[in-house]
Symmetry: C2
């Protein structure tokens, strides 16, 4: 997926060797994957919980049994990556270490231990006509997943797909093709061992980039697409897909330090929200501080950030307060800074009148991902929760908690920045739909 910015998804092959659009062979291959996925999804939708859990446990066992073999396949990818001059961090992300394999194996076992939400009927109520009406949770059908180098995503997606009773078609990064093929073989063996169709999890077996264009444009065979990767990939998939997309765009998250608040707690949480890790989407990129606490709070957090080398891009008021902090990297924020997701040791800082200005700033400049208020005022907390239009809204907690595992979902297929269908961290329920169930005794409409 590490394509040059402007390459159209639909019209180029990975080799760059002149293939300009999907070849007849590729079209046939993708169509076959689609037909097989649709057929497998019908079997997965009615599969017993015991079979799905058996497949997940078998997969965990096989991941442990075949660690050496997996590492041999992984070595082929790593050699090719190094030979082609892939950057060191990218090569790192490709690695299937025993530790990573153990983590994904444990993840499969945790999923196996979770309750099965498929088939659950909720809200069954009797209507005036006599019929009883409720909603049954059912799989979406087939999802397509497009992701970049980390091969462990292959197992995360496969295991979530099995547990949720869906079928999936996985398109990993071309850098990881050998690792992904080896992992897919284990998945197929685990499915077969549990009496489930191997086609329930299929890997696109070619690195031809035109395959992505086909995958996102087969509404007869694929019900939803989940892209995980850089912004340009996700924007392109969203633009060109002919089916719904569960997508994750920017994480321009804010921490708002309210007045009144517990200043010690605010320093601890604002520090964690920015510096615990710089790269995740739920790290805070903007710090808003109520004027009434700014002179007390800002020098303290400023000293913490200064010690960690975090640059503070400030409005005039914050800048003048922070001027006295030793070794602080304090600069002037531009309008663009308020919009920016740095993913780096940089944070924008602004003094606001209070709650109203904080909410207005977040709703205007934020990306509706995750925003937190640090406060001791009950009314302010309630208003922030209600009025900030973001997928996750928090009181007195670090924005870094916006995560499927921290939310108790047990697993996460992605984080949605849309409002439609699934919002925020997406677990098993995001891969399901509710159908209506009507139980009667011969009632007719009059």
């Amino acid at each position: 997926m590490n394509a040059p910015e402007k390459a159209p998804l639909l019209a180029q092959s990975a080799s760059g060797a002149g293939a300009e659009s999907a070849s007849p062979d590729l079209n046939e291959l993708m169509q076959t994957l689609g037909v097989q996925a649709r057929a497998a999804s019908a079997l997965m939708a009615k599969a017993h919980s015991a079979s799905k859990n058996a497949a997940l446990r078998a997969l965990a066992r096989r991941l442990r049994e075949h660690t050496t073999e997996l590492q041999a396949s992984n070595a082929l990818d790593l050699e090719r990556a190094q030979a082609s001059g892939l950057s060191e961090p990218m090569v790192d992300r490709l690695k299937l270490t025993p530790k990573i394999l153990e983590t994904v194996a444990l993840g499969c076992e945790q999923l196996a231990a979770m309750p099965d939400i498929i088939g659950e009927i909720s809200g069954l109520t009797q209507q005036p006509s006599g019929i009883r009406v409720g909603q049954m949770r059912v799989p979406l059908g087939v999802f397509g997943m497009i992701y970049e180098s980390r091969p462990n995503v292959t197992i995360e997606a496969a295991s979530l797909s099995i547990k949720s009773g869906n079928a999936c078609i996985l398109r990993g990064g071309s850098e990881a093709i050998e690792s992904n093929k080896a992992l897919a073989r284990l998945v197929h063996a685990a499915l077969a061992e549990a009496g489930l169709p191997a086609d329930a999890v299929q890997l696109v077996p070619t690195t031809d980039r035109a395959a992505v264009g086909r995958l996102i444009a087969m509404p007869d065979y694929v019900d939803v697409i989940i892209p995980r990767g850089g912004r340009s990939l996700i924007e392109r998939v969203s633009r060109e897909a002919k089916v719904p997309v569960i997508k994750h765009l920017d994480g321009n998250c804010h921490t708002y330090v309210d007045a009144p608040c517990d200043i010690d707690m605010a320093v601890t949480v604002a520090d964690n929200a920015k510096t615990q890790k710089y790269s995740p989407c739920n790290a805070s990129e903007g710090l808003l501080v109520a004027r009434d606490v700014a002179r007390e709070f800002l020098p303290r957090i400023g000293a913490v950030y200064a010690a960690k080398g975090v640059e503070m891009r400030c409005d005039a008021e914050a800048q003048s307060i922070l001027a006295s902090v030793q070794n602080a990297k304090v600069t002037t924020a531009s309008e663009q800074d308020w919009y920016t997701e740095y993913l780096a040791p940089i944070i924008s800082v602004k003094v606001v009148d209070g709650l109203d200005e904080a909410i207005a700033h977040i709703n205007r400049y934020g990306s509706h991902h995750t925003d937190a208020i640090l406060t001791t005022d009950h009314v302010h907390a309630q208003r922030f929760l209600r009025e900030v239009d973001s997928a996750s809204v928090m009181v007195n907690a670090s924005t870094r908690f916006a995560d499927g595992f921290e939310y108790g979902l047990g697993a996460e297929i992605g984080i949605s920045t849309d409002k439609f269908h699934a919002r925020g961290p997406v677990g098993l329920a995001g891969l399901t739909s509710l159908k209506w169930v009507v139980l009667g005794q011969g009632e007719i409409r009059t």
Copy 2:
């Protein structure tokens, strides 16, 4: 919206007078509506339940007070429609009779009496880190609705929008423009009376067809589009929209008469499912009969359909059984018949081996809208509910029950034939989203 089949949505004016794309004026108008809707949606999202309910009751009162005035505006539309040679059924659908106005007024009062689902927090549970995590129901934001002649839809959409805390932009049929403008004035007055922003419900004030093309392509201002109308309108909106669409395509519904079943009940329900009304999307278009009951059941339902003039398009086996029924219109079904939504006194009839063939037929030829099994076998009922991949699955009830009011939703903005977001009848909850709420006491991520 009664456009010729091939006219592109985006590029023609209603007058046909040569306007080829949205004029700068129209672009500006639509942009203004969008900006106003977005601003109003923020106020509606935090509006008190009491205000929203007061607006709904004020609207009901005003509809009753202004019946004469509304009928005068409606008369302008009716005259124009008759002068332009609109068909009698189309003119009928345009009429705002006192009875229709009373029905929509009652609908507003019923909505006012329903609980407010906005702000409700569900599933709040404590996580190992100490944070408590739940989900809050919030409005989607702004929806755009595109509909055909019936002007009462203006009030149905407006009232659902108010109750669900959304803002909406309504684009009714050009035939109903005077009626819709008069209704929109009442909505604005009711909103103002309750202290809510009048822009929460806006009617596109022009009949220029290019307005539709703009409305469906403003992702900054419109979160979802709901088209209600003929198939060609809905397909075109789905194809060209730049935002999610809650859409309703075919209703090729089935009634499957299982063995064993209560034959008397099966005759009553299969009759009702087809003949209670021919035009609704939830009328049954296909009748499947298990071989073991076919000789007993088919002659009885055949006599009922014969008496009502319903044509039966049959497979060979059904045709031979029905041959003896007096006055029956029995013809041979083509492959195409199994796919067809007749919306007319015609039904396809097929004898099947039993449950497996019935489920396979429905999943293959049906439109995943509504399908019913009539049976006394518990296992068959459970399998049908689980394995038929339709928005509504029923046991021993008429498919005609697939309806928001019959399901107890209190109101219906449409019926979705998609699996994503909302499936089947869409009430207030379909116009909302769930955001994550995190309550902490200074927890940080480690």
